[in-house]
Amino acid sequence: MILGMFVLGWIAVNYPMSPAKIKLFVWHKSIGITILILVVVRIAWRLTDRTPALPNHMRNWERRLAHASHTLMYLAMVIMPLSGWVINSAANFPLKLYGLIRWPNIAPADKALQTQAELVHVTLFWILAALLVLHIGAALWHHFVQRDEILTRMLPGTTRRLRKQGD
């Protein structure tokens, strides 16, 4: 979903001004708000649910890096759609999610604010992209090099089994 948004956002920004450009942006904005809602739900879930412990073989710096990159990814996943919402609001464009649901503006019309939010949005694009490369790379490294359960335990149903083993 996030990778799709990278592509969609990139195309929409560079597309020549046309009805198609507006529609690309409507999709980009609609999916962005959807991600925001999903991420908020996910964070609430993560905070109320136990996360399985990291494998014992992981060294301290690896643990710290894993925690830091996860925190940063969650932050980026919240601020990314939020800053997009601010851009749209400050630019004073109306938004109807998927052409159906009227979505309110979060900020007043303000060109300076729009420019700042755009800077945040595009900077986070690169940061989140880098974090995702790190995240996916680390997951593959755990699976193929370390040969531990990190990747497979992300699949549904495996957490319970892992917890049972740990108990």
């Binding site: 046309s18 198609a20 004073n92 464009f93 109306p94 109807k96 019309a109 060109k111 729009q114």
Partner: protein
Amino acid sequence: MYLTRAATVLICSVLSAAAAATEWIVDNDRSRLGFIATYDGVGFDTRFERFDTRIRFDPQQLENGLFDVVVDIASVNSDSADRDAGMLDLEWFDAEKFPQARFVSTGFRQTGAGAFEASGRLTVKGITRSIALPFTWNDAGNGARLKGKTLLQRTDFKIGTGEWATDPIIGFEVAVVVDLHLNIKN
């Protein structure tokens, strides 16, 4: 002889003053002239910051009435810098080539108590069309308030060419909205 001529001039000027309907000037700070358009089905308000008017109107002398309004297209403001700039583009108002829009009334008729309709010629982007502008007129001593609204099809004036001419993402129907606070011109 001299006195007679003076008296004649005086009488004539009094008569012509009576014949001309009242002239009004717009209180720009309190007035609004603009339009409501739609973006993806959601309306957005737009106003022109600069417009010149010559308004002569007296509900008792409709035959002497005149609305002549010249709008500075580049002064369009919809509280969105990007959209405002976009509206001046070639495909939309083409403000560089057509910097002004103009409405000149051709006649008035009363449609109800305090309600009137101005017929006239509206020129936008070099295209002139006959339109009707229904409005209400509230006289308050030295001031008056004119409120009117009329629906136009943007494509009638080639506003939005190319793909925009057939794609309804920017709605075809546009409501021109006029709310003028007027003072008697001395």
